[in-house]
Symmetry: C2
Subunit: 219 residues, 2 copies
DNA sequence: ATAAATCGGTTGTATTTACAACGGAAAAGA
DNA sequence: TCTTTTCCGTTGTAAATACAACCGATTTAT
């Protein structure tokens, strides 16, 4: 577990906490390791969570498959990001989505109650982590609102423009690589893959964008 | 301001805090009153927030109008609920939506920093409010995920079923009244009003639902 | 090295949707 | 009360989308 401390230090959850302090907290927060192969589910819809999950390596998708097999990718968890903040309330109920490892992944679980209940020693770094968690949920909230902004657009083209513009803005460059393949992007934007693929090409023909594989350029 | 204390006591933010304690906190949290007429904007997209807003009376819509006049209703704030939790982080940036009073409304603003910075006296109720805020953001997070579930459905009928089913489940009854008129519901589900109206009637003809005005019944 | 699976683009068709326009009923305002 | 506005359903048409099916290229597995 100790070898992951440098990675933990770089996460939003432990921002401003030293490696020594993190080491001290590992047992305090009942940290446990989890390893998942590509294609394995970390959690399934309907489960009850008691842990905050921090991704150490790999990649996770928060997603949901409906009765007819239509998949919706709610969100994507990259290395250093976390999952489960929406379920910290005691009566927060069952998990609304599946959590899938789309790459071989390593995660660390932290006991929620131990995080939000300030420990007896009332350590400085503990309250720091609570505040970090606070801001992280808040930030995820905004990410969801931004995502709503994309998929509430009426046409596929508008959805694509909305998404790609934001990515460009976020990376601060008209050139960027997206973390989705075509099917995943379609699932993320809630559209049909082939129709989306088609629209992407039309947008290229119209001189709006250029792309090759997952690399895009806005014109 | 004091006359609103009973209402504040019933909100999620002040759950478990006595009226006396709330009274003591009002100045501590720099509480300020705001009144808005139906149709007035409480906030506009692009503003920077420093306050948590609690709705005392009336109703608010969190929404966004795009360049072409298409409106998206992100969320609805009912009496006792709050807004602004997603913007508590210091570097959380500008407001992503408008906040509109859809009825004559009264709100109370609380200074964010004073909430999340535990006051020198480290009062019991203050830490209670912090935890309440924690859970409230968490809950709002889930509300957004549920909403994503609705509008990521492919057809208007599926969106309606998804939304109506959840309402029925939430009210624990197949009979319920929704808080939107047709145009608002369409804006909430990101579909065209007339097409949605049409689909609702088809669903009635198909024996799936009954409705009159805003009152619905699932069959 | 070969086979198998994944991925991205293309096409045609049936379905669904947006959009515009209209009218009657109900509600709000004068 | 009378007028005006809002609300909701209806219709027709053009546009956009989902869906299925297919293919070549690339990647992955054996």
């Amino acid at each position: 577990m100790k070898k992951f401390i440098p990675i933990l230090k770089s996460t939003k959850l432990f921002a401003g906490v030293t490696e020594d302090e993190i080491a001290a907290m590992l047992s305090c927060l009942d940290a446990r390791l989890g390893e998942y192969q590509k294609g394995e589910y970390v959690f399934r819809e309907g489960e009850h969570l008691n842990h905050i999950t921090v991704l150490i390596s790999g990649e996770l998708h928060i997603q949901r498959d409906d009765y007819w097999g239509n998949r919706t990718i709610i969100n994507r968890i990259a290395v250093g990001e976390m999952f489960g903040e929406a379920y910290i309330a005691p009566e927060s109920g069952a998990l609304l989505n599946d959590v899938l490892a789309v790459e071989d992944s390593t995660v660390i679980f932290f006991d929620v109650r131990r995080i939000i209940t300030v420990c007896s020693s009332a350590c400085r770094f503990h309250s720091m982590v609570v505040q970090n968690l606070f801001f992280a949920i808040s930030e995820k909230n905004k990410a969801l609102i931004r995502k709503l902004g994309h998929i509430s657009k009426r046409t596929t083209r508008e959805k694509l423009i909305s998404y790609l513009s934001e990515e460009a803005k976020r990376r601060n460059s008209a050139n960027f690589t997206i973390p989705f393949n075509r099917q995943q992007l379609a699932d993320f934007l809630s559209v049909d893959r082939s129709a989306m693929s088609n629209e992407l090409c039309k947008m290229r023909d119209d001189g709006l964008i250029e792309f090759e594989k997952n690399q895009f350029r806005l014109l």
